[in-house]
């Protein structure tokens, strides 16, 4: 009420005593200006339809407008495919030689329409799928438009389906491509090879040395290591959205959904149904569908009508039988439904078999064993079936789902052959994402106990406590297995003492000066480290006995992939604060060791310096704290293993530390350390530390046994 009154008073006051005529005039003017401004603004910031689209240069054209090429009847025809071709005989690898990124470059020929002497087209210009395929390649990192730099050439002549083209003329069209050169480094994609009556398992178009990415290869036509076996794309993949169905038992044990089976095979599968009853379902084409219902999307059993491909999700195993062609699009549908394919097609080369491990996702049964299929499948444990179901779906998602996935997987396979040292591993191809996240591959996986003779390198990080440093050096040099001592001089303002002042010890002693006073310097992979074992030790750790250190080294030899340290610490979940907490009290558990004195493999120095995730290294250097926690995180994360605490040692007492008022310092210290744990856990995205309840002691530690007979009698105190 109040506000509106105010407004009413203010309103007229703004343009006072103006005549109504004028007022209208002004208001109109204002609105025009305002509108203009808004429009301009919109124009400025709106995504411009003309500019922002990438193909500013690409004129919009229709497929029908592509140039026409007339092929004379007597133009050359390439040789038939050479069955003995291998990468090292038929592929010109020099064309791929100069790429520094280990990625091949692929050139796509421009689209043309080929006609014969009479003007009759050789084939459909291009199919929807082949257009998608070429688009996918063009959008990928492999693509180049510079023909002279290309290593692989993809003709735009569509040979996906042999039945839509004229063989001789298509071959002639291939032969006249500008860089054809007997087909060297040319890649053809074909999904439906062969034609009646005998249906060859590879494309019949003569293609000389060209590589063939084909669906439906048999062992007789597939050139191992040269051709690529690809799936037959199922258009249903794009049309139907089948949500992922969890693994587990399903309504039917075995399902046959293919139409157009050879009568012999149909008899066989129907015999299975008769024998095993309800758990086997054999479907066929529907004969009496009403008008307008797509017959592709329906299957029938007697008079029962089922939706296809949805019905595939009702079965645990789905039969994929050979038809006229070995490769069947139904394989893709079956995988999409998370149904385990039972492939019955002798000599069929499964899609991408060069890299995919089909044993994990399918069951291959020889044709003559068809009557035993049921018992073969029943012998598979339920757990394995569930893994196969998961794997099947994952294969579909990664390599079958779209034409793009098929195209890129094909190029990746060829790329891996050319740059084998940068190839994708078995695990990357085959492990579903869930497994990839959960698994740890320990970089030091070989069970190996390094020889004692190698010894260890002690690295002492120091700033300026020379006296204490010299004591540490003298103490450590008494350890029998020490083979070298490295002092990291972290003080830039002061020179290390002269050579003559250093203690004389029996092993080489080297001083490394650093450029900056950073905590991370202690974990740098110095050239001077020659042993695998590294002992990181602070310049004030003088309380460790020689026996204790030697024993620590012995323990490290038995666990060379772990951090082996003395005082142990623990991380705990604080339920009140909902975050991690650092614990140094007397606990029955350990998850970290302090690196004030710890043995570890020198490879972790490399990891710490070059592979530490996120900004952890900078955080450590900025806070001048927690480098040990960071190391604990790093090692636990990469190996998946816990630390080993040795001997009862509980803290590193140093003479200086006791002088300072302990309590309050302790408090802030604990808070800071807890903060580190929380920070690191968030950077790693997980809590990699492993909690254990054991520590390592010498075999006879505190046993009732003569001390002088023990190997490590002086194991020290707390």
């Amino acid at each position: 009420m109040c506000a509106s009154v105010k407004y009413n008073i203010r309103g007229p006051a703004l343009i006072p005593r103006m005549k109504t005529k004028h007022r209208i005039y002004y208001i109109t003017l204002f609105s025009i200006v305002l509108l203009g401004l808004i429009a301009t603004g919109m124009f400025q910031f709106w995504p411009h339809s003309i500019e922002s689209s990438n193909d500013w240069n690409v004129e919009k054209r229709s497929v029908r407008d592509v140039p026409v090429v007339r092929l004379p009847a007597d133009s050359p025809i390439p040789e038939r495919g050479d069955l003995s071709c291998r990468m090292h005989t038929c592929f010109d690898v020099y064309r791929c030689g100069f790429n520094p990124k280990n990625k091949i470059k692929v050139y796509i020929y421009a689209l043309k329409k080929y006609v014969d002497d009479f003007g009759v087209p050789v084939s459909n210009t291009i199919s929807r799928e082949y257009n998608e395929l070429l688009t996918a390649i063009s959008d990928s990192d492999y693509y180049t438009d510079d023909i002279s730099r290309a290593c692989l050439f993809v003709p735009s002549i569509d040979v996906l389906n042999q039945n839509t083209l004229r063989i001789k003329e298509t071959a002639q069209a291939l032969a006249q491509l500008s860089r054809w050169d007997r087909g060297t480094n040319h890649l053809l994609f074909n999904m439906l090879p062969g034609g009646p009556p005998d249906y060859n398992t590879a494309l019949d178009v003569p293609r000389d040395r060209a590589l063939l990415a084909g669906g439906g290869f048999s062992t007789w036509t597939y050139r191992q290591g040269y051709d690529v076996s690809i799936p037959v794309y199922s258009p249903l993949s794009a049309e139907v959205d089948l949500p992922e169905k969890g693994p587990g038992p399903r309504r039917y044990f075995l399902l046959s959904s293919q139409v157009g089976l050879h009568p012999e095979y149909r008899e066989d599968v129907e015999a299975l149904q008769v024998k095993h009853g309800e758990s086997v379902l054999v479907l066929d084409k529907c004969t009496n569908l009403s008008e307008g219902v797509l017959s592709v999307r329906k299957r029938c059993h007697k008079h029962q009508v089922f939706d296809y491909p949805q019905v595939l999700q009702e079965a645990t195993f789905c039969v994929v039988l050979r038809g006229a062609q070995l490769g069947q699009a139904v394989l893709s549908d079956v995988l999409q439904a998370g149904c385990v394919p039972v492939v019955i097609a002798d000599s069929y080369i499964l899609p991408f078999s060069e890299v995919l491990d089909w044993k994990r996702a399918s069951v291959v049964v020889p044709e003559e064993k068809m009557s035993d299929v049921y018992s073969i499948l029943q012998s598979i444990p339920q757990r394995q079936i569930e893994e196969m179901q998961r794997q099947a779906r994952w294969f579909w998602e990664a390599y079958f789902q779209s034409i793009k996935a098929i195209a890129l997987a094909t190029l990746q396979i060829i790329n891996d052959r050319i740059y084998p040292y940068a190839a994708i591993s078995y695990e990357e191809w085959n492990d579903p994402p869930a497994v990839k996240w959960g698994s740890v591959s320990n970089p030091l996986f070989l069970p190996l106990i390094p020889p004692q003779s190698q010894g260890f390198t002690a690295i002492v990080l120091t700033y300026d406590r020379v006296e204490s440093l010299f004591r540490v050096i003298t103490e450590v040099s008494k350890v029998p297995s020490l083979s070298k001592l490295l002092v990291v001089w972290n003080n830039q303002n002061k020179n290390p003492p002269e050579d003559s002042l250093w203690p004389k010890i029996r092993v080489p002693l080297k001083v490394v000066r650093t450029a900056e006073n950073k905590l991370s310097n202690r974990f740098f992979p110095y050239d001077e480290i020659e042993t695998e074992a590294v002992l990181a030790i602070d310049d004030d750790i003088i309380m460790l006995t020689s026996d204790e250190l030697q024993f620590g080294y012995e323990v490290w030899r038995e666990f060379p992939d772990r951090l082996v340290g003395y005082p142990g610490r623990l991380h705990l979940w604080d339920h009140e604060m909902n975050k991690w907490k650092y614990e140094s009290e007397w606990t029955n558990e350990v998850s970290m060791v302090l690196t004030g004195a710890a043995f570890y493999h020198k490879y972790f120095n490399y990891l710490y310096t070059y592979k530490m995730p996120g900004d952890i290294k900078n955080w450590v250097d900025a806070h001048m704290n927690c480098e040990d926690i960071a190391m604990n995180f790093l090692v636990a994360n990469v190996t998946g293993k816990a630390v080993i605490k040795v001997t009862p040692r509980k803290k590193f007492k140093c003479p200086e530390c006791t002088a300072i008022d302990g309590l309050s310092l302790d408090q802030t210290h604990m808070v800071e350390r807890s903060e580190c744990i929380n920070k690191f856990a968030s950077v790693f995205g997980t809590m990699p530390l492993k909690v254990v309840e054991h520590r390592a002691d010498p075999v006879l530690y505190k046993d009732d046994f003569p001390e002088k007979l023990k190997s490590f009698p002086n194991i020290g105190s707390l």
């Binding site: 193909d55 690409v58 558990e589």
Partner: protein, 669 residues
Amino acid sequence: MQSWRRKSVWLALSASWLLLVLLGGFSLLRLALPPRPRPRAPQGWPRWLDADLLQSFSQPGELPEDAAQPPRAPHGGSCNWGSCFDTSKCRGDGLKVFVYPAAGPISETHRKILASIEDSRFHTFSPAGACLLLLLSLDAQTGECSSMPLQWNRGRNHLVLRLHPASCPRTFQLGQAMVAEASPTVDSFRAGFDVALPFLPEAHPLRGGAPGQLRQHSPQRGVALLALEEERGGWRTAGSNSSACPWDGRCEQDPGPGQTQRWEMLPNATFCLISGHRPQAASRFLQALQAGCIPVLLSPRWELPFSEVIDWTKAAIIADERLLLQVLAALQEMSPAQVLALRQQTQFLWDAYFSSVEKVIHTTLEVIQDRIFGTSAHPSLLWNSPPGALLALSTFSTSPQDFPFYHLQQGSRPEGRFSALIWVGASGQPPLKLIQAVAGSQHCAQVCSLPSWSPGIQGMRKISECSCCLLLDRFFPYSTIRTDAILSLDARSSLSTSEVDFAFVVWQSFPERMVGFLTSSHFWDEAHGGWGYTAERTNEFSMVLTMAAFYHRYYHTLFTHSLPKALRTLADEAPTCVDVLMNFLVAAVTKLPPIKVPYGKQRQEAAPLVPGGPDTGPKLQAPDPNCINQIAAAFGHMPLRSSRLRLDPVLFKDPVSVQRKKYRSLEKP
């Protein structure tokens, strides 16, 4: 006042107009002028206006419906697994192999190979019951080339084993027989049917074999980057120091040619360059593996050994010889992580499949068994990570999580409960105190006994029956044992619940090892020139006694199914040997020592170790050196490793209030 207002209104208006003209003008200008030629963006595949109208490559229903032909016969002479091998004969108990006896006198090598096949679990003496008939075709020197055997049957279900290439001229048509030969050429090799063997030198050990040369995980500093094979069997290293390069992130220049060194047999370098033309180079390949030198194969024309199951990309670099310079550059830049992994894999593969003739032959049979098994074959992980497919039996399980070795890779954990298996022996008196202590553990799932309990004890919680009662059957894979962990006990063992609890928690961290309370250690007895072992308390140990030890259920399967018959009979006759045998077996698999946990003090000197107790069964008190020597001979090497540590609870015997300690009774005097 008024004019001021009007002025300000006009000012605002004109300012707005100006803005409008400026902004709009720019836009108009940009529209009107053609854009300056920008750096050319790659011209991609055009986006067709009528892309959506294009036809699909296959029209539904277009597929011919009645065109499928009956299965075709294989093309002239070429075979594949489906068409030339009859698996129906292998239905019963998997792969059974019959070996044709040699006609006439045979060489020592031949005899040993025969023996090693006869020792394997695949062997059968009846050709009728066999599903694979093996024809050894070994030494050409003695002229004993086999003639056509009796059951030849066009070679169906036959495997012709040629350890040394072209040792025998083909005296008869191979027909449908599979060929296992050393480094077959890529062109003649029938993938999935033939088996590619490694090229073994004449003097390859038959059993055991030399361990890999790798003593440390990472390449030594200063070791040469590359070794090249020499004409006469040696290796030449070139350009030393450069291997140091990837380790610190900066590279020194190659010191140049001239810095070459000659080595005798095994190369000492990070990478070994091996030419792919001559099959003889394949023997270099094996040398490189043994030396832990990563083989760089240049366009090999021969099939890599066991390529059907071994993922060679994890252990070798197979590159195109024509891109040699790029390959060399790539080697120099290879990340330490990659070098580490490749190096370790060479060693693992050498030890698992190649170090002896016996391993090569068993691997060959295992490959064929995997083909027969189909879905229950070894998953790739089992072939390609330690301990390897010969030691991880697919008959136990095909899920890697069930084994003790793959928890890390699988992101899984061993089960949180154990089964106690108490061997009561002939006396038959159930040790009630022990049962109470064990069953009292929160992790205990069941307690079984061998032989089964007297009925009176049935009422106790967690007690179930396990059948069978022979001593040897102690390590039988009973189906009644359902947990991953087994606590093996003896009627005279004496343990407290605390001890059991702690030992089990430790075992969960080391599921592939044996975790025991009582130990013994082996030693080389100079005086007798053989191995000996003792149960005396020493500063180190290499075996734990199975009368009180945790281990994975899998070792029962391995013990029963993988050990040669001779060894199991040995253990049968001298039961003291069982402990040693089990420890050998586990050590051969893990290549690591067992783990010792603390054992209550007062009992340490008491019952178990005192000889001549009231019902002394066969025990370790009188170690029998024969036993350990025979076992070591059968293994071909000494797998036992010594450990100098014991795993104690974190606060074990620390001067702190006992209230803080979780495993208090471990320390009671």
